[in-house]
């Protein structure tokens, strides 16, 4: 389906204080894949992600979701297609109970109560958190919070999932569950992360950003295995790959 395609063409962005964050980013993500966006701190990853559902508008260049270019008038529709999971779950969970939080999006879009309940329950079951439906979100563990934030986004039934550092602050078990969960999705997934081992397990393609530009874009293993390239951009070759491909 064409609305699963995300395309960024020559994207430029400068913050109001003059800091230039993006200097011509282009890429195209097709339906159903998991794409990692990696790069050092300050590379422009988060700024780029914020363009994907219209929190920031391009200064130059354009963002297309499906066939639709991102503008102020299409932003609301694009936000329904592109679900975004933020870095800090506390920013995303603001309702009194888990269920109400997951139902927030569907309620806001004016769906009938039965449909809201169906979607919210389905999303909670999808992430394995249906048992927590009446708990207040701020009392959950970090892993549970992360799963619930993903459910809040799933309840909107987006075609594309965008995630900023999904594995941050998780313990190994929580991280393992997250990886299994993300692996089971059929959505187009765009994941910005420093967790390169997660990329090895989950993503078929890597977009390496640095200094507001795309430094490399290609198959995950090929880029992650390129020690020179990785070091040149403040990254490391993932340890697990050393054992797979010894020199």
């Amino acid at each position: 389906m064409s609305h699963h395609i995300v395309e960024v063409r020559d994207l430029h962005y400068a913050y109001p204080d003059g800091t230039v964050a993006l200097r011509g980013v282009s890429f195209r993500v097709l339906h159903g894949g998991a794409v990692a966006v990696v790069g050092p701190n300050g590379a422009g990853k988060s700024t780029m992600l914020m363009h994907l559902n219209g929190f920031l508008m391009p200064v130059r260049g354009e963002v297309l979701v499906g066939e639709t270019p991102l503008t102020r008038s299409t932003a609301a529709a694009i936000r329904r297609t592109v679900g975004m999971v933020f870095q800090d779950p506390d920013d995303q969970l603001f309702m009194p109970t888990v269920f109400e939080d997951v139902a927030f999006g569907p309620v806001q879009s004016g769906l009938p109560p039965e449909e809201v309940e169906r979607r919210a329950l389905a999303a909670l079951e999808r992430v394995g958190m249906a048992g927590l439906r009446d708990r207040p979100p701020y009392r959950l563990s970090a892993g549970e919070k992360r799963a619930v934030t993903i459910a809040t986004v799933l309840a909107m039934e987006p075609a594309v999932l965008v995630m900023d550092e999904p594995s941050s602050n998780l313990d190994p078990r929580g991280r393992r569950r997250l990886i299994e969960l993300l692996r089971s999705f059929e959505h187009t997934r765009i994941i910005a992360t420093h967790d390169l081992e997660l990329v090895v397990e989950l993503c078929s393609r890597v977009i390496l950003m640095d200094g507001g530009r795309v430094a490399a874009d290609g198959p995950a293993l090929q880029i992650l295995n390129d020690e020179q390239l990785m070091l040149a951009h403040g990254l490391e070759r993932p340890h697990s790959l050393r054992h797979l491909h010894p020199h």
Partner: protein
């Protein structure tokens, strides 16, 4: 990381999640009835004490029927009491005219109005706390919005409640970092505290922006909608009309005095 404040906010929510006939009443009805109680209490003349007593039934009923521990409410009232004391304390100083005698002791008008202010304070704060604890902040805010409160205020109230402990936790983390580096001997200057508070403000602003973004991402367009908008049921009407009738009666007649007259056999 758990804070006293974290637990208190959480406890209020725990009480609000119970399921009693009182909890099932419509939030609008409880809000309006509580407001009626407060308005009636505030409308009495300044020296009134005995006629206020019947109004204690209302918060008492909310607390009892809502299965909210009295100790929880009492603690909150004590915490808030310095504000009322600060207002009331000068009455006995400036108003020394004797109002009536209890045996040989003359009770001045000042002490009478002091008692009246404190009683009103306890009544209104108790009623408001019990209302919040037996309704829940979200339902209360949604109810107030349906009653015509500007949605921006309803939203503010809700988020104040939700993020109180998040901001408090950030403040405590900053204070801990400050203590770790400042040592116990050197007193921390006001300038440092200023910077600390400033940072806390900036962080809160950053957070509120991120929260807003998260809400917009899920289709937020200005109002908080409830999942199901319920209509008022007979029980709601009974609660509203029953208590309102009681407030009107208690405002019109001094019930304790009437009972006193009945008991002592004096003609009214």
């Amino acid at each position: 990381m758990r804070l006293a404040n974290w637990n208190e906010v959480g406890r209020m929510d725990d009480y609000a999640r119970q399921d009693t006939p009182l909890h099932r009443l419509d939030a609008r009805v409880k809000a309006v009835t509580t407001l009626a109680c407060i308005v009636a209490v505030m409308s009495f003349p300044r020296y009134e004490v005995s006629a206020l007593m019947p109004f204690l039934f209302y918060p008492m009923a909310l607390t009892g029927m809502g299965r909210i521990p009295f100790g929880f409410i009492l603690k909150k009232i004590i915490v808030a009491s310095p504000f009322a004391l600060a207002i009331a304390i000068f009455n006995p100083v400036f108003d020394r005219e004797a109002a009536f005698m209890i045996g040989p002791v003359a009770v001045s008008g000042g002490w009478l109005s002091f008692t009246s202010i404190m009683l009103r304070f306890v009544l209104t704060v108790w009623a408001a706390l019990a209302l919040a604890a037996c309704t829940g902040m979200f339902r209360l805010c949604a109810g107030l919005e349906r009653l015509g409160m500007p949605r921006i205020f309803a939203g503010q109230l809700l988020f104040l409640h939700r993020y109180l402990f998040v901001v408090a936790e950030e403040g405590i983390r900053m204070k801990r970092a400050l203590e770790l580096r400042s040592g116990a001997i050197v007193p921390v200057s006001l300038r440092v505290y200023g910077s600390l508070v400033g940072h806390l403000l900036l962080r809160s602003m950053g957070r509120s922006e991120r929260i807003h973004r998260a809400m917009v991402a899920r289709g937020f367009s200005g109002g908080m909608r409830a999942l199901r908008e319920t209509a008022l049921r007979p029980a709601d009407w009974a609660f509203l009309l029953g208590w309102s009738a009681f407030f009107v009666a208690a405002r019109a007649w001094n019930i304790p005095a009437l009972i006193g007259d009945l008991v002592t056999g004096a003609a009214p």
